[in-house]
């Protein structure tokens, strides 16, 4: 019987592929959403359909990427990080840990931008928090995407 949390390599590869597909879609949606947020911080935007569409897409894609990543995490943590990265490329391990921390903090911003996106008439305070949440999520997603890509190019599950 395998150790707790061990999974077949084929299943891990499939999960990694799915994680990457979701992450690519998330990167697109979060970047558009975050850029709209940046514009919203500078000037008053006329409400558009995208104001509700992007935050909703980002919310579900982010959660999907987190759930898929959580299934990959145990194998990555032991088979890749402990077995290879900690010795061969410690910076990779540290960048990965920071990615996980940012993803956790980003969950708060994710809920905020999703909640405030559905408000028909946002106050000035709600508008400010909404745009800050979008920008924060974009920052997290872009950083996570780049680190994920870098690590997979070194060694993957």
């Amino acid at each position: 019987m395998g150790r707790f949390g061990e999974a077949s390599p084929v299943l891990m590869k499939l999960l990694l592929l799915l994680h990457a597909v979701v992450a690519v879609a998330l990167a697109g949606a979060a970047t558009h959403n975050g850029l709209l947020g940046l514009r919203g911080l500078k000037e008053e935007l006329t409400p558009s359909r995208l104001d509700a569409l992007y935050p909703r897409a980002v919310f579900w894609l982010y959660l999907g990427a987190v759930v898929l990543g959580s299934f990959l995490y145990p194998t990555f943590r032991v088979e890749v990080r402990a077995a290879y990265l900690d010795e061969a490329l410690p910076l990779g391990s540290r960048l990965f840990e920071l990615k996980e921390h940012l993803v956790a903090l980003g969950l708060g911003a994710l809920v905020i931008q999703r909640t405030l996106a559905t408000r028909p008439q946002r106050t000035a305070a709600e508008d400010l928090l909404f745009h800050l949440g979008r920008v924060f999520v974009m920052f997290v997603v872009v950083y996570s995407g780049l680190v994920g890509l870098f690590l997979v190019s070194v060694r993957s599950v």
């Binding site: 949390g5 061990e6 959580s70 943590r77 540290r94 920071l98 921390h101 903090l105 809920v111 928090l129």
Partner: protein
Amino acid sequence: MSPVGRLLAGWVALGVSYTLIIVLDLPRPRYLPELGRFSLSAGPGVVAMGWYGAVLVAGTAGFLAWWAAGRVSMPRLGRAEERRVILGAFFFLLGAVLGLAWFELGGP
């Protein structure tokens, strides 16, 4: 408290509790190496529990703060004050990000 205040309270509570859990090294105690070895031999699932647990605890703290803030009544702030509070909380959380980056990239 207003919806903005409740959301901010939840996000700040999540950020503070998560940062404390990580900086205090609770998920992977560096000062108890035998626990690390036990974790590795016990299997990937056990090792991963540290991070799952940190997210779960911080998420619960965030939810509880959001819920509790809904039961607190506060005087309505002016527009400029609201802006200051929101930006203050946001930069406080960015400080937590920098603290985590320091901890992982250049800290102890």
